[in-house]
């Protein structure tokens, strides 16, 4: 899919066209950054009680302001969590689509988030672990195991989208039936896990975001460093080798990056689908398939989507709220179906 897009092989493009393309990419990057800033302010300001941007500003920096407690205790941790998880899922989705050379790759649909969930369910249900520090190592192990499995099924020689997606669905089904089984064992883990498995930013505490940061930063840096070799890999292993890339090393590095990003994001806010699918598609339409532009743009736009979904969930179900994972599933699902109907011929 990625390979077939004409702009992929952009070498002989005439100079003016290239300049125009770069201008467009820069504009996309700038637009994404502005959108992210807007959503950050909205996420701090909207909720059970609305605050104007000015009040948010005072709430952030003025300890005597009326909004200080709400902003610092509740909305800031949640917004930071959404920002980090969004970056992680979006970049992981982009890397996976490049790695599997498959437009339907998404850490949620292919079962990587479910792998992290199953490991967390084991930790919470059977071993009694109950904090992010405890969860995250299990989540990373689970995500790593499924990443390797998905790569074994879909990497290297490209699988067709339908087959890869079906393999992912099967992995998902197996892991969720395991998660359900652990929830049956005792009602205490059911009580916590039933909220966690839908994927929500609501559980955010001050320290969660701080603890996630090293994992996500490491994953992000690794992904960005791999952008150029991933471009080469899109041309096929032989061409990639002749361009100086080491396909096996690049793939191993990409799996590590995806594991770090998905594992940390899932440990903090539960399995969230479709963010990693939708954002790279949107970004590819804006910047073209060059990973060096795509991945940064994904990192800026994915949190817009996740935080937007979270804010929407807070607004539509007031005074309660709809978890962000449900909003992304309900918004992303139809988009996925549209994409399938448009692109996949018999």
């Amino acid at each position: 899919m990625v390979v077939t897009e004409s702009s992929q092989i952009s070498a002989p493009a005439p100079v003016p066209r290239k300049r125009a393309q770069n201008a467009r990419r820069a504009a996309a990057l700038l637009g994404s950054a502005i959108a992210l800033a807007v959503v950050l302010v909205l996420s701090l300001g909207l909720g059970a009680r609305q605050r104007s941007p000015a009040e948010v500003w005072h709430g952030l920096f003025d300890a005597d302001s009326a909004a200080y407690t709400v902003v610092h205790q509740m909305r800031l941790p949640r917004t930071l969590l959404g920002l980090l998880a969004g970056v992680a899922l979006g970049v992981a989705g982009g890397v996976m689509q490049a790695l599997t050379r498959n437009p339907l790759a998404d850490p949620g649909l292919l079962g990587i988030n479910a792998g992290a969930s199953a490991a967390v369910a084991t930790a919470a249900g059977l071993l009694g672990v109950a904090s992010f520090q405890g969860y995250v190592w299990f989540a990373l192990a689970g995500a790593a195991a499924v990443s390797v499995l998905v790569y074994a099924v879909g990497g290297g020689r490209a699988a067709t989208p339908a087959r890869l997606a079906l393999a992912g669905a099967a992995i998902n089904a197996a892991l969720y039936s395991y998660v359900n089984g652990t929830m049956l064992l005792d009602s205490a883990s059911l009580e916590t896990m039933r909220f966690w498995t839908v994927g929500s930013l609501a559980s955010a505490q001050g320290e969660t975001a701080a603890m996630m940061t090293p994992f996500i930063a490491a994953g992000l840096l690794l992904a960005l460093a791999l952008a150029r070799p991933l471009n080469a890999l899109a041309l096929g292993d032989d061409s990639a080798r002749s361009l100086g890339a080491h396909p096996a090393r690049v793939r191993a590095g990409a799996i590590v990056a995806v594991t770090l990003l998905c594992g940390a994001a899932t440990a903090a806010c539960g399995p969230i689908v479709f963010v990693g699918l939708m954002v790279p598609h949107l970004v590819r339409a804006l910047t073209g398939p060059d990973q060096r532009w795509m991945l940064p743009c994904c990192a800026l736009l994915a949190p817009v989507l996740l935080l937007g979904a979270d804010v929407l969930g807070r607004l539509v179900a007031r005074p309660g709220e709809l978890q962000a994972g449900i909003v992304t599933a309900v918004l992303g699902g139809p988009l996925f179906l549209y994409f399938v109907r448009r692109k996949v011929r018999a």
Binding site: R163, A174, L184, G333, F336, L337, V344
Partner: protein, 340 residues
Amino acid sequence: MPVRRIAGGMTPRLRAVAVGAGCLLLALVFGVLAVGGGDYPMSPSDVVRTVLGGGSPAEDFIVHELRLPRVVTALLVGAALALAGAVFQSLVRNPLGSPDLLGFTQGSAAGALLVVVTGGGSAALAGGAVLGGVVTGAVIYALAWRGGLHGHRLVLVGIGATAILTGVNGYLLTRGRLMEAARAMLWLTGSLDGRGWEDVLPLLVAMAVLAPVVLLGCARPLAITEMGDDLARGLGVRVQGLRLVLLGAAVLLTSLAAAAAGPVSFVALTAPHLARRMTRAPGPNLLAATCTGAALLTGADLAAQRLFAGHQLPVGVVTGVLGGGYLVWLLAAQRKAGRI
């Protein structure tokens, strides 16, 4: 079909019938053992005598009112799921194309959860499961239709529907109180505890009507369609009409099975594979798959009751664990054979 001798010296058709009969016999043995076990143990001969009408009043009550409905439910649910799974795998031409991966089961679950959260009884729950499954099946069919129904699009639309419905189901689980959530979770896993005749009856009727239609009416055209739509059309099969009938039957069987026992995972996926290994015949192997499914679920339920003394597991846990292991092996084997 030309008569082709294969290992064992039987024709493929004879072998399929033999496999079906063998599995059915195995299912009955499991059933007799399951009826005989429990707080009031009975020997297999006592069980058979009581089922045939020669037991004491106490034995009569225990067998006919308490234990037999559960075994019959297991037999029928296993058979229905396996038949539906074999039909789906043939329709989408992929060994992983089973209804629990393509959204149909999640539709049933959404309907049932809606009933649980609003506090409905068990009859309403079964109704919700059937309705949810049928509506989801119709929506998936409509979305996947584009000048005809084709395997790839059905798979992808189904996976999209699964992802959406998983989100919806998770939300419904968080809405209820803890007691309701626990009941919903037990249902979602799939369990045969405390089944009575009234739970079996709808599925029994559906199997009595739909199984002959699928097994006798559609098996041959379905096998021909596996060779390609154009060839099938040339041989006089109305491909799209056949798909509609088969999809409708499979969706009904899946939803009614879910209504009777909950969405028991992996029976629909594994039973057709096991059947194909035993018959060594290509094609959908519908009859053998159906009987294998019945044996698989009765065996799994027997294991679920006996595996841990004094502690009964829901049958869905057993099929989930077995199915998950099988799946990993299958993915590896498929990968090696270049089919994924």
